[in-house]
C-alpha cells in the first residue's frame, strides 16, 4: 500500500520532532564550549552571548547538511571561529570593541578558582598566574589565540583544531608554539 499524503505529512512531522530533539541535545552539550571560546576571544559577555546564539542559529540552518565528515564539536567550533573572525575584522566595531574590552573584568578571573584546600599564598599565586595567562591570550594575534584556546581550554586535538580553523596541522603547531612561548615568557619560564 502506498503511503497517503497524510501519513507522509505525519512522518515528516515526526522526523522534524526527532531532529529538534537531536539538535537540542547538541546545543546542551556544546553551548558551554562555544560560549567559553567566544568569551575568551572577544572578552565581552554580551557579544559572546550574541555570537554563541548566532553560532547555533547557523548550525541549526546547516544541520540538515551536516554529513558527519568531522565531529559535531569540530563542525560547531568551526562556525564559532568564523563568527569570531568576522567580528574581529569588522572595523566598524573597533571603537566599541575597545570599550567592550574593558567590560570583562579579568582581575576577577583568578577568583573563580575556588579551592579551599590550598593556602592563601598558594591561592594568590595561582590567581596571578591565571591573570597572566588571560592577559597573554588577550594580546595574542587572532589565529594564535584561537589555536591556544581550542587546545588548552577545549582540549581539542591538533587535527580537530586544524579542521575548525580551516588550516593545516603544521600551521596549528606553529600558532600553538608561538602562543605557548608567549605564555612562558610572561610566566618567566622562557629564556
Amino acid at each position: 500500500m502506498e503511503p497517503s499524503a497524510a501519513s507522509g505529512f505525519l512522518t515528516a512531522f515526526a522526523s522534524d520532532a526527532v531532529e529538534f530533539e537531536d539538535f537540542d541535545a547538541v546545543v546542551r552539550l556544546h553551548w558551554p564550549a562555544v560560549f567559553r571560546f567566544t568569551l575568551a576571544s572577544v572578552r565581552d559577555r554580551d557579544v559572546a552571548a550574541t555570537l554563541t546564539q548566532d553560532c547555533f542559529l547557523h548550525a541549526w540552518r546547516g544541520w540538515g547538511r551536516f554529513r558527519g565528515d568531522s565531529t559535531v564539536k569540530t563542525w560547531i567550533m568551526r562556525i564559532a571561529v568564523n563568527l569570531v573572525r568576522d567580528h574581529s575584522r569588522d572595523r566598524r566595531l573597533q571603537f566599541w570593541k575597545r570599550v567592550a574590552a574593558q567590560a570583562l573584568d579579568i582581575q576577577t578571573a583568578g577568583e573563580r578558582l575556588a579551592d579551599e584546600r590550598i593556602s592563601t599564598e598558594a591561592r594568590i599565586l595561582r590567581e596571578e598566574r591565571v591573570r597572566a595567562v588571560w592577559n597573554v591570550s588577550a594580546s595574542l594575534p587572532e589565529k594564535q589565540r584561537t589555536a591556544f584556546l581550542l587546545r588548552f581550554v577545549e582540549d581539542m586535538q591538533l587535527l580537530e583544531i586544524a579542521a575548525a580553523m580551516g588550516v593545516k596541522e603544521g600551521t596549528v603547531k606553529v600558532h600553538l608554539f608561538r602562543a605557548v612561548q608567549a605564555v612562558r615568557e610572561r610566566l618567566g619560564g622562557a629564556q
Partner: protein
C-alpha cells in the same frame, strides 16, 4: 640526551609535538619535568577559570532555532486561516449563482420588457419624433398627398 630541554623544546612539547627522545629525557630529568608541570598547571588553571566563568554566565537561553521555526509555522498558520476565511466567504456566492431570484424582481423585469417593446415598436427613433409631427400628413396618407400636389400643377 643529557642536557636540559631547550626553551623551544619545552614549548613544542607543550604544544603537542612529542618526539620520543624528548619523552625519554623527561622521564630522566626532574628539572625539565618540573618546568613542564608548572606550565601545565598555569594552563589548566586558566582553563578551569574560564570553564567556571562560562558555566556561571553561559546558560543556554530560549532556543532561537525553535523561535525561528515557530515564526515560520506561525506565518503558515495565518495564511491557512486567511485561506479558510476566503473559502467560507466564497461558498454562499457560489451556491447562489444559479438560484432563481425572488418574485419581486420579476415585476421589474416585466416593466423593463415593456419599455424595450415600446422602443422597438417605434416607427422612428425617439430623437426624430418632433420632426414626424411637422410632416404628419405625409406620413398618414402619402398617396393622397402626391395626388394633391399634382392637381395643383
Amino acid at each position: 640526551m643529557s642536557e636540559h630541554l631547550s626553551s623551544r623544546g619545552i614549548s613544542e612539547w607543550a604544544s603537542g609535538t612529542r618526539p620520543p627522545e624528548v619523552e625519554n629525557h623527561l622521564h630522566e630529568c626532574a628539572e625539565c619535568r618540573e618546568e613542564l608541570t608548572r606550565l601545565h598547571g598555569a594552563l589548566s588553571d586558566f582553563r578551569d577559570s574560564l570553564r567556571s566563568w562560562g558555566a556561571a554566565e553561559g546558560a543556554p537561553p530560549q532556543p532561537m532555532w525553535r523561535t525561528e521555526n515557530a515564526q515560520g509555522a506561525h506565518r503558515l498558520r495565518w495564511a491557512l486561516a486567511a485561506m479558510v476565511l476566503v473559502l467560507l466567504a466564497a461558498i454562499p456566492v457560489y451556491l447562489a449563482r444559479d438560484r432563481p431570484r425572488p418574485g419581486g424582481t420579476s415585476a421589474e423585469d416585466a416593466v423593463l420588457l415593456e419599455q424595450i417593446d415600446a422602443n422597438v415598436s417605434r416607427t422612428v427613433p425617439a430623437t426624430m419624433e418632433p420632426l414626424t409631427s411637422l410632416v404628419s400628413w405625409s406620413s398618414t396618407n402619402p398617396a393622397a398627398a402626391t395626388a394633391k400636389s399634382l392637381t395643383k400643377r
